[in-house]
Structure formats: C-alpha cells, structure tokens
Amino acid sequence: MIWQEIINGISIGGVYALIAVGYSLVYSVLNFSNFAHGEVLMIGAYIGFYALTALRFPFWLAIALSIVLGGVVAITLEKIGYRPLRLRKAPTLYFMISAMGLSIFLQNFTLVTIGPNFRTYPEVFSFDPFEIGSLSIGSLDLIIFVTTAFCLGLLTWFIYKTKLGVAIQAAAYNMRVASLMGINPDLVVSIVFFMAGASAGIAGVMFGMKYTVYPWMGSLTIKAFIAAVVGGLGSLPGAVLGAFILGVTETFAAAFVSSAFRDLFSFALMIFIIILRPGGLMGVVVKEKA
C-alpha cells in the first residue's frame, strides 16, 4: 500500500518537476517568478491536442510541435512583457505584475476564443498498467516518468557541459559581469525562456494526456511553484527534489487523510519549509547587497 502510494507520488512529482524546472531556470537568471509559465503549459497542451485531433499528426510530431511552439511563445512573452522592464532595470515587483497581466490575458483569451470546455486527449498509449509483484504502474505514468527523466538529463547536460550552458550559469551568477565578458544578455535570456517554454510544452502534453485540457489549467502550476520554493528557487536539482517530495506528500495526504485536504497539505508543506529553511531545501539565501 505504502509503496504503491510512493509510486503514484513519484509519477505526479515527475510532471511537477518538469514545470518547476522552468520556474527555477527563469528565476536563476532574472530573479523573479514567472507567473505566466503556467499559461505556456496550457498553450502547449492545446497545441498538442489540436495537432493530434484536428491535424491528425503522429504523436512524436505533435510533441515536437508543442516543444517548439511552447518555446517560441515563451520567448515572445519575454520580448513583450519583460524585456522593456529588463532594459529599464525595473524593480522585481513590476516583473511579477507584468507576468500576472500576461497570465490573465492568455487565460481569458483562451477562454473567450476556444471556450471553457474540458477536452480529452485521444488515447495514444494503452493505459494497461504493468504489474510488478503486488504493485501496479500505469504505462502512461511510466512514459511520463521516462520522458521527464530524459528531458531533465538533457537540460542538465546542456547547462553544465556546453558553452552556452556555461554562459547561462555566468549570467545567473551576475548578468552585468557576464555581459562585460562578451555574453549577450538578450541571447541568454531568450535561450532560458526557450528552454522553460519547451519544458512547459512537454509538461502540457503530459498533463493533458493524464488529465484533461482546459483554459485555466495553468493555475495547476501553482503546485510546481510550491515545489520550486520547497526545493529552493533558482536551484535546478532543488526543483526536482521539491517536486518529488510534493508529489509524495500529496498522494499520502489524499490516501491517508482526505483528498479534499490534499492542496492544504501542499500549502502547509511550503510554509513549513519556508519557516525551517527560508531559502528552500537546496537554495541559498542571498542577502541583498547595498
């Protein structure tokens, strides 16, 4: 029973991890929380849905489309909503408000144009669970887990092993000094937003397959945000760790207490962690310098 719940928790944690990484990436470079990230996920989910149903694309092409378009949407949002603020060196508060505006706009635009209906993905994979002893693992969960692990691996490789990745690390450390060293800040920010958007695109398709697609599904990403906070904002391994801890906490709360109080537990977990370790589990508290 307990092992089964842990498996369920890890499978939902995997999707959270993919979204949380997007938050952390943007936070590490620009130092603000991109509240519009959830809407990129929603757009990715819709793109995947229409590619599979209206355009009858094969699955790999649909997912590739939502990766690319998710990234493009994220870059576009950055150019419209954040770049002017970045150039003006506006305070973080303005970034957050701008992000909120983008999120309200996209959510309600989708609501008005596409409509409030819940849409179900066509069955791409059979849902037959694997049986290992007394444990059962849904095949969709397994696919999601493998995809997440692959994407996170790719992301880690890109950031720690390639030249551009090192540039991103430098920019995260200090954008001004990095730009003195010949790193183009606009390019770095665009790449970061592309990666965040692309991972949100995949996560959107995964979420859509596991649940349904609807205009305000972006607000589900508050869970991923909580995961990023628990793990430490700005830290990639922290985001992944936080996501799995949150996933397991949630399924345990739902299984052993009451599914109605599941979200209360995730919120309480965040407050608890913030009190114990203000920087999150793997984050560092950076004191503001004069």
Binding site: S33, G81, Y94, M100, I222, I271, K289
Partner: protein, 299 residues
C-alpha cells in the same frame, strides 16, 4: 437615486475598502499580495456567522470580521514577510486557495460550496459611504505621515531603509495587518449587501480584480485607487455586452501599464483641491491661448 446607480455605489465602496488596504500593502510598501480574496472570505464568513448564528449586532459582526482577518494576516505574515517578495506573493496566492478549500470542506460551519443563504442585508449607504470616506481620509493622512514615508522607503530599497533605521519587517507587518483589517471589513459589508456568500465568490479572479484596480489607478496614489475602484466597478456594468472580454483587456492593460507607465494612471500624484485647481489653471491657459490664436491672430 435609482436602484441601479445605488448598486454601483455600494459595490464601488465595498471594492474600494479592500483596494485601499491593498494599495497600502502592494502600492506603498511593495509586498505583492496575490490573495486578497482569501482575506475578504475570512471577513465575510466571520461577520456572517456572527449575525446568522450568534445574532450579534451588525457593528459587532463587522469588527469580528475585521479582527479575524487581521489576526490571520499577522500569523501568515510572521513567516512569509521576512522573505523575498516572490515567496510572499506565492504564499498569499496559496493561502487564498487554502482558505477557499477549507471553507468548502468545513460544511457544518460554512455550508460547504453551497454557502450561506439569506443573510440579513444590513449594509446601507448611510453607513457604508461615511465609513469609506473616513478610511480614505485616514489612509491619506497615514501615507503623508512619517510612517507612510517609511513604508515608501521600504518599497524603494529595503537595505537602504534599514540603513536609516527603518524597521523593515515591522512596517511590512503593519501594512499587512491594516490590509487584513480592511479586507475583512470589505468582506463583512459585502456579505451583508449581497445577502448570501459562497466560496466561489472568493476565487483567484476576485484577487486579480482588486490588484488590477490598485495598478490601474497608480500604485503610489490613494486617490488613484479611489478613482480606479469606482471606474473599474462601474465599467463592467456599463459594458455588459463585452463582459467576456473584460478580463482579456484587463490582462493586456496591466502588461501595457507595466511596460509604458508602471506608476499607473495617476502615478504618485494625488487628486486634491490644489492639484485640481492647478489642472484647471493649466487647462484654461491652454484654451485661452488657442482662442487668442484663432480669433485674434496673436499668441
């Protein structure tokens, strides 16, 4: 006054009370509160339970709602206000959702998702308008006082504020507490005006509406908040046909404001007799200039 106009006035005042709290907290002190609806809900439910279950007088119910919401904001602010703004924003967002879930699931006390029906409608314009005006006056004086300037110092630069011996945490906490009190009061008035409350009235959309009002009017202006609360409450009533597009336009407008004029409509400019006089003088000079130029050929 027609019932329709009265209705708009009621809602404008109720929204304005919550917006004033938010203006102090987010506009002047710089802590982004994403979950104002949660505090409204606490005030509304506490006040309603007092009138419906305890049969307390209206004033007692309102004060109970205020204090309940204020107390919760102290408890929530203690761990979260010490941290960076992002954590605070997300904590308030999560908090509002948690409050809504709690209300939905504590069916014995709150009536669950069906809410509490047939609340006595005790809110009258005779009490609401003077209370609102009094709050505007107090807030204006608070902002103009030393304490108000300290809040602005916290918003502009926490480190610098600390360096000139401003207790950053305490001012944030005061602002958050006042915001809680006002949100609770607004919730209490709202419940006793509408006549029923449901958890769905206190969703993310409500928080969004209120924060948009603060941003529209100018984050650094009390009268700006007054103006935008009245205008944005009556606009959707006037533009009923475009109701679905309202939030789309709000979103676009918020981004536009942040990119083009982040200080909002009035910025840090306050509307008062002197500024209106100055505006009038400027305008009349301008028109005089036009007149002379058009009809007398002199300028």
């Amino acid at each position: 006054m027609s019932v329709y106009v009265q209705g708009i006035l009621f809602l404008s005042c109720i929204n304005l009370i919550a917006v004033l709290g938010l203006s102090l907290l987010t506009g002047f002190t710089g802590s982004f509160n994403f979950g104002q609806a949660g505090f409204l809900a606490i005030g509304a439910y506490a006040a309603t339970l007092m009138t419906v279950k305890v049969h307390a007088p209206f004033a007692v119910a309102l004060v109970t709602g205020m204090l309940a919401s204020g107390l919760v904001s102290i408890l929530l602010g203690y761990p979260t206000l010490r941290l960076k703004g992002d954590y605070f924003a997300i904590a308030t967002l999560g908090f509002a959702e948690a409050v809504r879930l709690l209300i939905e699931n504590l069916e014995k006390v709150t009536g669950g998702s069906r809410g509490i029906p047939s609340i006595p409608t005790k809110t009258s314009l005779g009490t609401l308008v003077p209370v609102t005006l009094a709050i505007v006056w107090v807030m204006r004086n608070y902002i103009a006082s030393r304490h108000g300037r300290n809040c602005v110092a916290v918003r502009e630069d926490e480190t610098a504020a600390q360096a000139i011996a401003v207790n950053v945490f305490r001012y944030k906490q005061i602002s958050f507490f006042v915001n809680g009190l006002l949100a609770g009061l607004s919730g209490g008035f709202m419940a006793h005006y509408v006549g029923f409350i449901q958890p769905s009235m206190f969703g993310i959309q409500k928080s969004t509406e209120l924060i948009v009002m603060v941003i529209f009017g100018g984050m650094h202006s009390i009268t700006g908040s007054v103006l935008s609360a009245v205008v944005l409450t009556s606009l959707p009533e006037v533009l009923r046909a475009a109701a679905a597009w309202r939030l789309v336009m709000y979103g676009a407008a918020v981004v536009f404001i942040m990119v083009v004029r982040p200080e909002g409509l009035l910025g840090s400019w306050e509307l008062n007799i002197r500024s209106i006089k100055a505006m009038y003088r400027g305008a009349s000079q301008f028109f005089r200039h036009l007149y002379l130029r058009a009809f007398h050929g002199t300028a």
